[in-house]
Symmetry: C2
Subunit: 230 residues, 2 copies
DNA sequence: TGCAGTTTTGCAATGGTTGCAAAAAGTTAG
DNA sequence: CTAACTTTTTGCAACCATTGCAAAACTGCA
């Protein structure tokens, strides 16, 4: 089964991914041409498109794997486990997956984040990939909670969690604190989505309607630059 | 102030938008060339790019207006109003804004939704535009709730609400029920985000941990086609 | 070695996007 | 009304991603 063909194909694929990642990081996404990537991987530019559908897609080569892993977590729902707990586990698992590749210089996700932040085309594609994954996850969740969650409810649940994390993380990134702060954002996003936005503002009487340890801070909020205009 | 120049510019802009919208709907996004759009608006293809940054952007001409309107709602927070209520008002207002243009044949949003669903490039751009808006909204929310919400919390709140609605709406669209069902999705998404994903699964004891009227249905869930594979 | 199936490649064409400098307007002062 | 100035439009050339097509190279197998 693993003939020369198959092996060569994976090797070429890897070569393409690594070449692209390196070139993108070195010269920037837009400054890198397909021809250059192909040259690094010793294939003709034309052949690139039999490995990836577009220049952008090289960067998201692991999207499917991540999705499948998340789906596996959902499928592993424990008897009677609430949606919130299950989704929480899914998020944790995804974080672990991300951290697992801390082998080389910068972790893949760090590099990718920088690239995506810098190149609008990549940003757009990334958002699309995420929406796609979320839709699939919503279906899976709906199936796992058959009879308990309508498709729309499942979708809303997935969308709330992922959306909260996504925007919170983006917020952290737009300030200057790239590294570990993202984990804070993930935590905050998860909590807000699971416990509800309503819990964020204490009902102006009861002592503790707070969300969790991280909401201990109605903090003074250091001054920060306004976001770039649209 | 309103010289010939200014007036001509708005006229051309409108012409471009209408031409693009019509051509996209008639022949599809990808089948429509810039040259055709430009021709319809009586300008040279080159000039198109002094009106919009890309072919995709014509379709999202009102993104900034929508964002500003949403920001205005946030800025109009009533004294002591909780985040959840304010965001809820924002969503309602946005819906009204959408419905307001029910003048011509299909409402703009209906057309746009179809186009975005059909053309991957538009889908990606749409998601990017939304992320952008959400980031800005998060900042605004953070400012409106100065001292009460950290930037991350504000971002999580916005992300949860928009994310829940977005994915729930997408779910409705992926099935075949395009028209009024989207409003259901918006309602469900909003509730789930505001009240929290946790409220979705009743804690297997207390009678009513339900989310709202729409969660009355642990419904039998009519069979539906699986989502397209990644 | 030679056949059959698959992959790679070269080539040409399409179309979005950009930089640049000339041409065409529009605006304003005299 | 005209000249001088500013802004907008245009034409042109170039770059690059992407695609279809058919020839060429390669792999697996008899």
């Amino acid at each position: 089964m693993s003939g020369l063909r198959e092996r060569k194909k994976v090797r070429t694929r890897h070569a393409l991914i690594e070449a692209a990642l390196r070139l993108f990081t070195e010269k920037g996404y837009e400054q890198t041409t397909l021809a250059e990537i192909a040259a690094e991987a010793d294939i003709s530019p034309r052949t690139f498109f039999s490995y990836f559908d577009s220049k952008e897609d090289v960067l998201f080569f692991d999207a499917e794997a991540r999705l499948r892993r998340a789906q596996a977590v959902l499928a592993g729902r424990r008897p009677g486990e609430p949606v919130a707990d299950l989704l929480s586990r899914m998020v944790s698992d995804s974080m672990e997956f991300t951290i697992e590749d801390n082998d080389l210089h910068l972790s893949l996700d760090t590099q990718r984040t920088r690239l995506v932040l810098a190149a609008p085309a990549l940003q757009a594609r990334a958002m699309q990939v995420m929406l796609d994954s979320q839709t699939q996850l919503a279906w899976t969740l709906h199936e796992v909670f058959a009879g308990e969650l309508s498709p729309e409810q499942a979708a809303a649940a997935v969308g709330a969690v992922v959306g909260a994390i996504k925007v919170a993380a983006m917020m952290v990134l737009l300030k200057g604190e790239p590294n570990a702060r993202i984990e804070d954002a993930v935590k905050i996003g998860t909590t807000v989505a699971l416990e509800g936005v309503r819990r964020l503002t204490p009902p102006r009487d009861s002592g503790d309607g707070r969300t969790g340890p991280e909401s201990r801070r109605p903090r003074p909020c250091a001054p920060m630059p306004p976001p770039p205009a649209v």
